[in-house]
Assembly symmetry: C2
DNA sequence: GTAATTGCAAATACTTTGCCACGTA
DNA sequence: TACGTGGCAAAGTATTTGCAATTAC
């Protein structure tokens, strides 16, 4: 583990992949880029489409394998949108990725609350003996337009 | 909506299903029973297996449809375990179902923190104009035994 | 040049539906 | 009896893998 956290950017992620002995290809860069441009969690198909429109045109299997790799390296994680496929987003350890989801229309908003979880997280880590805690927090409800 | 919350038990869930005009069968009772006996969120397969070992032997499709029904009635919900299939657990409206998951071995613990989310939930509801908010909160980390 | 990576296509897994026999109310 | 429910089997969707061609280093 690094003594000092490096900046979390496409470049730093690429550097991390490289330092794992992985090769940097146009496809992989495109996938990393797509994840960084995301406004909300993406399905593998969405990642593929975004990477495609940015010049790289990775095969679906390539997206799958790259995301899987990044997941193992804790660079991305799955988000629960209560849908039928998996959604992924970056895991910047210094950021919160908490979401607000409309159960009716599927709208997904990224919310930046002053995170009431930090304290609880530390408490839980201590109490249960867990390390490297992160969390996944999603709120589900009915948005304004759908309430009408 | 009932003026007074009834006890959340297999019987009350059965009663709710009945009051929706649904028929109570051995299969459905078995599925409800399985969910109540669960120590952690269950996949459809696990629900099926549990119901089977308790005497009912519902078809997978039956489990799927029953759980889907219960989900629509807000009696169960999906939980994000960052795995490839869906996991379900009961939705007792008076309880929190927050989880602590080990990323290494898959251990899942139900934690009962004094819920620091309630306040945030109300704040978010107001700020974003959402109604009927509920949330899903999971902590991911490395458990004590896996840290060795 | 060597070994990792990619695309293709197939295999697997999970989810969802149609239809008729069956059982509950 | 009437209509909701269950099982079977198939269809639909998402995930995962094998292998030969390709490409980064």
């Amino acid at each position: 583990m690094a003594a000092k956290e490096t900046l979390f950017s496409p470049e730093s992620v690429i550097a991390m992949l490289r330092s794992e002995g992985l090769r940097i290809t146009k496809k992989r860069s495109g996938i990393v880029q797509a994840l960084f441009e995301a406004k909300e969690p993406m399905s593998l198909q969405e990642i593929q489409a975004s990477a495609a429109s940015a010049g790289a045109s990775p095969d679906y299997a390539t997206v799958f394998r790259t995301v899987q790799l990044m997941e193992q390296l804790h660079l991305v994680h799955k988000v629960n949108l209560r849908r039928s496929c998996s959604y992924y987003e970056l895991s910047d350890p210094r950021k919160h990725y908490d979401h607000l989801v409309c159960k009716e229309c599927g709208l997904v908003l990224l919310i930046d609350i002053p995170c009431p979880i930090g304290d609880a997280e530390r408490k839980i880590a201590r109490q249960y003996g867990f390390r490297n805690l992160s969390h996944s927090l999603e709120f589900f409800g009915t948005c304004k337009s759908c309430a009408d």
